[in-house]
């Protein structure tokens, strides 16, 4: 070991400084034991970042290991920059989801933009060309001015970044609920395509190989972003705005092209994004994976300001930077590629045989750790898990006793109210700001059950979607997480795709609180059950804990990013109705299956939340094995060519799903007559708004009816005829018990659904403020 002494001018290591770095006493002792001496300021900074929750997964790793991660389709599982699955014909898909919640809470535009940038880099460092972006967003109620500002800023940040890089944003979800008022969730997912043979990993190899920093120069922005992401939000969080990075999508585009060219060139052995914890984590993790030592000289790092200390250079989260391990002797070839794209590159270190992680400032050693222990010696925690009594009480409430409002006597009032709920309503206000057609692969774009992208040069396509209902997970974590996986699977299946694999983004509260850790461990258990039943391994993802503010934790929100494969583009299926006289069939039980003694009711429903302001009851039960049968049934019907449309029936229940089939495509609304008189003894609100799982609405020609029924029975699925498409009609007619039948004019449904969010956002002062502010930042 080399002698490491404090650097002149660095602060003294005091208990206060240690605490400020987020290390508790035990962790600090662990660090001193590892080093055999007191750490330097630089070393303390390095460990603060690497042992933050964001980088180390110290509270979640043991739970994550219980998730299924293997299958014949998996080429790269968890632990790399992104997961990779085979999609046939020698092609593979790389994909991953990641959170940028805390930055977006204090600086929505840059927070969201850099979230998009980071996840793009995770995908192209695998050697894949990004072909699509998705976003899973959660905000408080749009009644709040602050929320309107956050929503407008996040949407513009995502759009400006993705549009400029030229990657289409094709799908996602946006949910509005008071639970996310002060702590919005901004999760970005990227999907890329590559040849299987071009897969590259971030494993440092080859003693003597040079380590090269490429892309943007390093500045003082985003220092300690990883640690910021690993603590609760508070009043003081606004003061941490400088920890938010600033994105430059133009540089990202150049870096994307240069990186893919580098990977194809054969001049490099490994490449990794300098993301959270910047140079520190990228270099330490590459060394750990390759089981080699590294040495880095911070004076060689291209910087954009003078006088930066080793601490700042190592912990900067300046965006659009990559760390590359090149083959020795190929440095000039690497530089030539970067220069062609007008980007900087500099050799800053070397892979060494000595088992040590060493940082120098010229001749002075400023940090040195034995082996890769700075990564592997991170503490692991399994804190206490205990359900909150309050939530158990909410779940036990019999919600059937919630009295109907007088206004509900008019069934159109209720349906209007549901369709105009910002969580249900059309999100076109947001996705019209995202280029969704660039790169010319988008067969089904935003607004469908899932997005569909063709795989150029093949007869195949992929379907992608994110899903999670945080309200369900809040009320019943294990079941809610099962539902998140199954709903994502149903969504991709509705477009004709076989679910292939998932990535997850676990947004939870502070794990040191037993009720939060209970939710985390239960949700991961439920996710595992569903993934095993559906054969959709988890290939990676991201954990974001500490999503809470003084007003409490967010709903536990394990967002699922699903990828499915469509074997033949002829199987691509839309969600909306089109052909007159087609028969409308429900695959699955209209009122849900009774599972484990629980019958699906209105518990946890959007209806209760929107119409009554009630969050309570037992969410609908979900059996992943039945969901698998349902999906297999649907796919067989699609492959045989019977299905003209397929739409998942979930959030908002049957009433919302039928309306969406009719008017989601506003340019071509299509009417129908629905006959529910067989269920006329069931209260109308239960019939229309219960959110039973395992239901899909399809339309088929009359001639296919017999065959569809036979296929369904073969998969133990009950098919039920609900009605017929009336293409020329301007109404959705719902027939039930004589006194409760009603006629819903399509124009009125469309107005409720399509005008809700524009009606709130267009002309709002907060939305205008975002446009002004962003105009200034881009000049």
């Amino acid at each position: 070991m080399t002698k490491v002494e404090p650097r002149p001018g660095d602060p003294r290591i005091t208990p206060a400084l240690v605490a400020e770095h987020g290390l508790n006493e035990d962790e600090f002792k662990r660090l001193v034991d590892m080093l055999g001496r007191e750490p330097t300021f630089t070393e303390l900074g390095i460990i603060s970042a690497l042992w933050s929750e964001h980088c180390s997964y110290k509270h979640s790793r043991a739970l994550l290991k219980t998730l299924p991660a293997e299958g014949p389709q998996v080429l790269q599982g968890p632990g790399e920059n992104a997961g990779v699955v085979s999609v046939g014909d020698g092609l593979a898909v790389a994909f991953k989801i990641e959170s940028h919640n805390h930055p977006s809470a204090v600086e929505p535009y840059q927070g969201a933009a850099t979230g998009a940038g980071g996840i793009l880099r995770d995908v192209f460092t695998m050697g894949a060309r990004p072909i699509a972006m998705l976003n899973s967003l959660r905000f408080g109620s749009l009644d709040s001015a602050r929320v309107r500002y956050l929503f407008a800023g996040v949407v513009k940040g995502i759009g400006d970044y993705g549009n400029c890089v030229g990657i289409p944003t094709v799908a996602g979800e946006i949910v509005f609920d008071d639970a996310y008022e002060t702590n919005p969730l901004v999760n970005a997912m990227c999907v890329g395509v590559m040849k299987e043979s071009e897969l590259i990993t971030a494993k440092a190899e080859g003693i003597g190989n040079p380590i090269i920093a490429v892309g943007a120069r390093t500045g003082r922005d985003g220092i300690h972003g990883a640690s910021f992401a690993s603590e609760d939000l508070s009043e003081a969080s606004d003061a941490k705005r400088p920890r938010v990075q600033v994105g430059d999508p133009f540089t990202e585009k150049l870096l994307l092209e240069a990186s893919l060219e580098l990977i194809k060139s054969g001049h490099i052995v490994a490449i990794q994004d300098m993301g959270a914890a910047g140079l520190t984590s990228s270099s330490a993790e590459m060394a750990e994976r390759g089981e080699v030592g590294v040495t880095i000289d911070v004076t060689k790092v291209p910087v954009r300001e003078q006088g930066m200390t080793p601490y700042e250079i190592l912990l900067s989260e300046s965006q659009e930077r990559m760390l590359v391990v090149a083959k020795r002797g190929h440095e000039d070839a690497v530089h030539a590629i970067l220069t062609r794209w007008d980007l900087t590159s500099a050799v800053i270190g070397e892979v060494i045989s000595e088992p040590v992680y060493r940082v120098t400032e010229g001749g002075r050693v400023v940090a040195e750790f034995p082996g890769s222990r700075l990564v592997t010696d991170c503490p692991r925690y399994s804190p206490e898990a205990r359900e909150s009594d309050e939530i158990a009480r909410l779940r036990a409430i019999d919600v059937a006793s919630v009295a109907e409002l007088p206004a509900e006597a008019d069934p159109m009032w209720t349906l209007d109210r549901m369709l105009s709920s910002p969580t249900i309503a059309s999100k076109a206000w947001a996705y019209r700001q995202y280029d969704s057609t660039v790169r010319t692969n988008t067969v089904i774009g935003p607004g469908g059950d899932a997005a569909v992208l063709r795989l150029r040069g093949t007869n195949r396509a992929i379907a992608v979607k994110t899903d999670c209902n945080g309200r369900y997970v809040y009320l019943s974590p294990r079941n809610g997480a099962r539902i998140a996986v199954c709903e994502a699977a149903r969504n991709v299946a509705c477009t004709g795709a076989r679910p292939l694999a998932i990535t997850n983004c676990l947004n939870f509260g502070n794990p040191k609180r037993p009720e939060n850790f209970f939710q985390l461990s239960e949700a991961i258990a439920g996710m595992g059950e569903a993934c095993r039943a559906l054969d959709t391994p988890v290939t990676g993802g991201n954990v974001s804990l500490y999503n809470e503010s003084p007003s409490g934790a967010v709903y536990p929100t394990p967002v699922i990013g699903m990828v499915g494969l469509i074997d033949d583009i002829a199987h691509i299926t839309p969600a909306t109705w089109s052909v007159d006289d087609d028969v409308i069939v429900m695959l699955g039980e209209l009122l849900g299956e009774v599972l484990g003694g629980v019958r699906s009711g209105l518990g946890g429903s959007e209806y209760l939340a929107r119409v009554h302001g009630v969050v309570a009851g037992e969410p609908p039960p979900c059996d992943p094995v039945l969901e698998r049968d349902l999906i297999n049934c649907l796919l067989e019907c699609i492959r045989e060519g019977h299905v003209r449309s397929a739409h998942d029936c979930s959030d908002g229940g049957l009433g919302v799903a039928l309306a969406e089939c009719a008017i989601a495509n506003r340019d071509r609304p299509v009417g129908a007559v629905i006959d529910l008189s067989a269920w006329s003894d069931v209260p109308l609100r239960e019939l229309l708004y219960n959110e039973s799982q395992g239901r899909i609405i399809i339309t088929v020609p009359e001639s296919s009816l017999g065959r569809v029924a036979a296929i369904a029975v073969g998969h133990r699925v009950s098919p039920m005829m609900l009605g017929r498409v009336r293409a020329a009609s301007r109404d959705l007619v719902i027939q039930t018990a004589a006194d409760r039948s009603f006629i819903a004019p399509l124009d009125r449904l469309a107005a409720a659904y399509h005008d809700a969010i524009p009606g709130i956002m267009d002309g709002s002062a907060e939305s205008a403020a975002v446009l002004e502010q962003a105009a200034v930042t881009t000049v």
Binding site: N163, G166, D248, F250, Q433, S436, V438, T440, V443
Partner: protein
């Protein structure tokens, strides 16, 4: 027949234009690097969409100084066809190849959608295969697509039949509601005085493959093919 597609730093529709020409039209195509000083013998130049130089300063303002643009200018002066799409249209205006300018959308926001366009002139090398008045469905995706020009320029464009496309509704009517960005007179695409440079904000190269929707952009490329074959 060979198309040359210019790649500026930040171009991101160059690939789409290349695939449209090669896969759907069956023509030859080559990428032209922005630092190159010759056009590689191409017959038609495409200035593609994207965010050249990040649209920093002003869309197209920096790209017009790229070395390749001198060659593109000479090609245009010789009567060679130039198809300038979206960011390419902005660059062509900045470079003086087309009159007028493209400024921030009237609604201030980026707009991504599929819009209706009405073919205004059939007597151009880019539109000869369309019928005048036909209504096309073509994607748009831009933040600075509002076409503006002084009144004499607008009058000249009208008089010379050099307005190629206008935004319209499904029936072909030119209305305020069907104008996605506030462009003057609903203008979506224009030609230069000689009729060999077309600038348009919508993306015809995204509307050529039936799997992605109505391939209404294909006839634009086929018009060029027909002209060059003469």
């Amino acid at each position: 027949m060979k198309f040359g597609i210019v790649t500026f730093p930040g171009s991101n529709c160059d690939y789409d234009a290349y695939r449209a020409v090669v896969d759907q039209l069956g023509a030859q195509a080559a990428y032209l690097w922005h630092k190159a000083d010759d056009l590689d013998g191409v017959d038609v130049v495409i200035l593609p969409g994207g965010f050249s130089y990040g649209d920093y300063l002003r869309a197209g303002a920096i790209a017009r100084f790229s070395p390749i643009m001198r060659q593109v200018g000479e090609h245009a002066r010789r009567g060679g066809p130039v198809l300038a799409i979206c960011n390419g249209f902005q660059i062509a205006c900045e470079a003086g190849l087309l009159p007028g300018a493209l400024v921030r959308n009237a609604g201030m926001r980026f707009v991504s959608d599929v819009v209706h366009l009405r073919v205004e002139s059939q007597s151009t090398m880019f539109t000869s295969e369309y019928a005048v008045g036909s209504v096309l469905r073509i994607p748009i995706a831009h933040g600075e697509g509002r076409y503006v020009a002084d009144s004499s320029t607008l009058a000249r464009l009208e008089d010379d039949g050099h307005i190629a496309f206008r935004y319209c509704d499904a029936s072909g009517a030119i209305t305020d509601d069907s104008n996605p960005n506030g462009s003057m007179r609903g203008i979506a695409g224009i030609l230069n005085d000689e009729g060999n440079v077309l600038g348009m904000m919508p993306h015809p190269e995204r509307a050529v493959d039936p799997i992605l929707g109505q391939p209404d952009g294909l006839l634009l490329f086929e018009s060029l093919l027909a002209r060059m074959a003469v």
